[in-house]
Amino acid sequence: MSGRVLVGVKRVIDYAVKIRVKPDNTGVVTDGVKHSMNPFCEIAVEEAVKLKEKKLVKEVVAVSCGPQQSQETIRTALAMGADRGIHVEVSGNDYETLGPLQVSKIMAALAKKEDAQIIILGKQAIDDDCNQTGQMTAALLDWPQGTFASEVTLDGDKIKVVREIDGGLETIKINTPAVLTADLRLNTPRYATLPNIMKAKKKKIANVKPADLGVNLTSKLEVLRVEDPPQRQAGMKVETVEDLVGKLKESGKV
């Protein structure tokens, strides 16, 4: 058992930033906009670091796919306690079309290369809301998956996962190696403390190209149009119930 955990971290537009659609409706404005680590990825890193602190795993490796700036995201993971990072360089048009299928192929390839025991990902990214990468990665590797995890307990060579589902909570036991995806209530990510931020500067980030992993990045999806949601129409105040009924009839709603 390698005791190695692979954690995927995605660089997304910071959730506090106001999103603007590009004038040509091909996407959203990302130039000069504040980016940060996807909040669910933060939770994933926190869980991995916790497992290491409990001495249940030996090494936490943070992975990010994207352009040069993705290294900042990996540094944040290192500052939180990850041991080393892998930056999979994807830029230009490849980056524009990078989606869950491509990332899961990369993660699967890396998992084999690094002999990973557990892969922890955020359940979804806040920019595309796909919620697919974890599931696809597990399928490609033919590993069991514990998705929407709100509690993770290692038990020998098995993992007990409490999942958040529509009806409540579901507890499952899966074999390792396995893929887990983190849900909101799994933990509260720590603030990177100064000593760790300093240490993180010295930790290694390896550079890898998708071709080196034998991964083809071609996407079968094409984005046709991106637009703002329709503006909410102002409501109307009426004085009496009769007015209300009249207006409802007028607009054909009744």
């Binding site: 959730y15 506090a16 930033v17 940060s36 680590m37 603030y191 403390t193 100064l194 931020i197 300093m198």
Partner: protein, 531 residues
């Protein structure tokens, strides 16, 4: 709250009935009734300006009502004609404007006026001047010294509807707007255009720029961008007699005669009503970092400040502190978790610069030095918008946390930086078990301490222990008894702790010059013995 409003309604009605019966003037009756009837007096004992023994017991308490006219039906007709639909007399609507944010003082005004233009303000003041009616200018009503609400029945002149941005020059960064613009809205407007306001304070969601200027608000960015005395380029002010004084220049440099606008900045609405402001705004920094540090002693905190100025100087935009008691209140009342380990003192440092690589390097060097020289025992850094907001809230929400801890006595003191925390420790020792919490926090970079004391309920004995002890302590070290909050109602009589008699006498002369009838925000800012 509702019960109190209903009680005050009944009180007013019964007072009117009594006055018709030919009894003594209304204000005296209020005292008699309140002293006699215990359930009411328990409610109204929250009125700071009627102390336990009547109006003259504490220097903070209000003086007797001056002989201004009272609002008549004819007056209301004029107001309703001048401001159709915006002359409010419905008690429920006027109530919230009668009480300050801290719920520590409440007036009994029956008229709330909401002009939209300078012309309307001029008409109102001209009329009030001729009728000898007192006027209380009011912005966001977030002041902490009881300066923004009436003491008696002064007419409330609200700038809330004067919220238009008049112009913005993208090249010079000069913004011109009406006085009722909310600070946060101005910030949002400017941020879209790559600029920011030169001031920022916790009350930004409610405070208005006119009020900020009238109180010379300081805030979190003063360290970097200076005070409003420097950033305000022009003002439009309506004087007590309704005359409009247009000093709304947008020039960076203009040495032609006396700089009148400086008089109105910080005048707390007593020399004129500010109706428009032109202000110089800085560019939005490309790179903002916030650092949250923990120190063992105040001495280490000061050394960290020196180190910070030396290594981060030109990019430093804020240096704030809070003590462990503040952290305890944030944890307990607002459920905000400490981002780092528990320390006696916490610092919030903000850097703003044009190049994130340069700034990270400077910051990294500073943090490394601070840690290796053991000035700082723990800390965390934020570069992301969401994390920056969270770290700032540890400092910005202390005021809010205090309101949940009980009745708060707030003090805002300027002292030589090295003495700042000594006042807090001395106060704790002096008050002992009588106080629930004694906390210190504030703009340590500007030498400005916010000292707050809480008790389960309003406690005159506790107040008597705090004041004048705190003011005498401050005067001993030539500090200011009100660094940025102003004097308002509560601190007007303490002015002599920080200003000489000749200086205050000149202030009195200016007041007489600009407002001979004294109708603008009476009972505030200047001490009672000037009248």
């Amino acid at each position: 709250m509702l019960g109190v409003f209903q009680t005050s309604q009944k009180l007013r009605t019964s007072l009117r009935l009594l006055s018709r019966a030919g009894l003594p003037p209304v204000d005296l009756q209020v005292q008699l009734l309140l002293r006699g009837r215990s359930p009411l007096s328990a409610t109204f004992s929250r009125k700071l300006h009627l102390g336990p023994d009547g109006p003259a017991s504490s220097p903070a308490a209000a003086p007797r009502r001056l002989p201004f006219s009272r609002v008549t039906v004819e007056d209301l007709t004029f107001f309703r004609k001048t401001l159709p639909g915006r002359a409010i007399t419905d008690p429920d609507l006027v109530q919230s404007s009668n009480e300050d944010w801290l719920k520590s003082v409440r007036g009994s005004s029956e008229v709330l006026l909401r002009p939209q233009t300078t012309q309307e303000v001029s008409q109102i003041l001209s009329y009030c001047h001729s009728r000898n009616l007192a006027v209380n200018p009011q912005g966001g009503n977030t002041g902490l010294v009881g300066g923004s609400v009436p003491v008696y029945d002064e007419i409330i002149l609200s700038t809330s509807l004067m919220n238009s941005i008049l112009s913005f020059d993208k090249i010079s960064g000069i913004l011109t707007c009406q006085a009722g613009c909310v600070l946060e809205n101005l910030s949002l407007y400017l941020e879209e255009r790559d600029y920011i306001m030169p001031l920022d304070l916790g009350a930004k969601g409610s405070c208005q720029i006119g009020g900020n200027v009238a109180t010379n608000a300081g805030g979190l960015r003063l360290l970097r961008y200076g005070s409003l005395h420097g950033t305000v380029l022009g003002l439009e002010v309506v004087l007590a007699d309704g005359q409009v004084l247009d000093c709304l220049s947008t020039l960076r440099k203009d040495n032609t005669g006396y700089d009148l606008k400086q008089l109105f900045i910080g005048s707390e609405g007593t020399l004129g009503v500010i109706t428009a402001v032109s202000i110089l705004c800085p560019r939005k920094p490309k790179s903002v970092n916030v650092v949250f540090l923990g120190c063992e002693t105040f001495d280490q905190l000061l050394k960290t400040f020196q180190l910070c100025k030396g290594m981060l100087g030109e990019i430093l935009s804020a240096f704030e502190f809070l003590d462990s008691e503040c952290m305890r209140l944030l944890n307990t009342h607002l459920k905000l978790a400490n981002p780092i380990s528990d320390c006696p003192f916490y610092i919030v440092i903000e850097t703003s610069g044009s190049d994130s690589d340069h700034d990270s390097q400077k910051l990294h060097n500073f943090l490394e030095e601070a840690m290796t020289s053991l000035l700082v025992t723990d800390g965390t850094v934020a570069t992301e918008e969401s994390k920056i907001k969270t770290l700032w809230s540890m400092r910005e929400r202390v005021t809010e946390a205090l309101t949940h801890d009980g009745f708060t006595y707030k003090y805002d003191i300027s002292l030589p930086v090295e003495r700042i925390y000594q006042l807090v420790t001395d106060m704790r020792q002096h008050l002992g078990k009588r106080a629930r919490s004694v906390v210190g926090y504030g703009h340590v970079g500007d030498g400005n301490l916010h000292l707050n004391v809480t008790s389960p309920a309003k406690d005159p004995a506790l107040l008597a222990s705090i004041e004048p002890f705190i003011y005498e302590w401050t005067a001993k070290f030539q500090g200011s008894i009100s660094a940025e909050h102003g004097l308002g109602l509560k601190k007007r009589n303490y002015i002599y702790y920080s200003k000489s008699r000749p200086a205050v006498a000149v202030m009195g002369k200016m007041k007489t010059l600009l407002d001979p009838k004294g109708i603008l925000n009476p009972y505030k800012t200047l001490p009672d013995d000037l009248k």
